[in-house]
């Protein structure tokens, strides 16, 4: 089981869609993709976790690192996630207060456009 990373642009917003497992092996791939997107000048980024089957602190660490990066450009990272087993690790670590979490890409995009 590996991690598939797809990135796209939806109405000017950078969207990363993940599928598979985010752990110590795959997290570095996510990290470099995030850095690429920030380097392209996208500072509001949506990360879609709906097809993520497993994620541990290595994945969380990359998200926190990415957030620091976009924040220095007044940007934000929004997550899309409804699976209980993934939401759980955001709750346990208190990161639910750090990342806005939506239940669909559309809602996340609306939130960025509304702000």
């Amino acid at each position: 089981m590996d991690l598939k990373i797809e990135s796209k642009e939806v109405e000017g917003v950078g969207v990363i869609v993940l599928e598979g497992e985010v752990d110590v092996y795959t997290a570095p791939k996510l990290k470099s993709r995030l850095i690429d997107i920030v380097d392209e000048g996208k500072f509001n980024i949506i990360i879609d976790l709906q097809k993520v089957e497993f994620m541990d602190s290595s994945g969380l660490g990359v998200l926190v690192g990415g957030l620091k990066r976009v924040k220095s450009h007044q940007g934000s990272i929004l997550l899309v996630c409804t699976q209980e087993n993934i939401l759980k690790i955001f709750r346990i670590t208190g990161l639910v207060k750090v990342f806005p979490i939506f239940s669909s890409e559309e809602e996340a995009i609306k939130s960025i456009q509304g702000s």
């Binding site: 752990d23 110590v24 541990d56 087993n85």
Partner: protein
């Protein structure tokens, strides 16, 4: 419940790409013990954190030929015990392993909330063991 007091052992090269194999094994083992789906996910998470820690430690302190990691899973009384064992070489530093685990605070919060107990100790003179304990759910009537 079946008896699982003899350990199931898996030894992998301590490389990131093998951690998923260890997760698979512990999930299969937990399934045999009748943990429910949520508990199996919790156990996988905890084992993933402990293995990640072991790999980071090995890559900082051990010569490359020591980069091996063993998981040993078995039951004792009402507990499932999972030992993550690795060899760093003579004078293994359990303090270092423990400090490292506490510094990775995201990993540590996950580990502690998934398991009933987390211990780190020296194994012999050259090894470290991260011992995870989880209570076995009471049998459904």
């Amino acid at each position: 419940m079946a008896h699982f007091d003899q350990p199931t052992l898996i030894t992998i090269p301590a490389k990131p790409e093998y951690v998923s194999v260890v997760r698979l094994v512990v999930a299969a083992f937990a399934d045999l013990l009748d943990y429910d789906g949520d508990a199996v996910e919790d156990i996988k998470l905890a084992v993933s954190e402990a293995c990640t820690n072991a790999i980071l430690h090995l890559h900082k302190q051990a010569p490359p030929e020591k980069h091996l990691l063993t998981m040993s899973a078995y039951t004792k009384d009402e507990h499932m015990l999972i030992d993550i064992i690795y060899f760093v070489g003579e004078g293994a530093d359990a303090e270092f392993a423990s400090r490292q685990l506490h510094e990775r605070d995201l990993g540590m919060s996950i580990l502690l909330s998934m398991m009933d107990r987390v211990e780190i100790a020296r194994a012999n003179s050259d090894g470290i063991v991260i011992r995870l304990t989880k209570n076995i759910p009471a049998q459904h009537p």
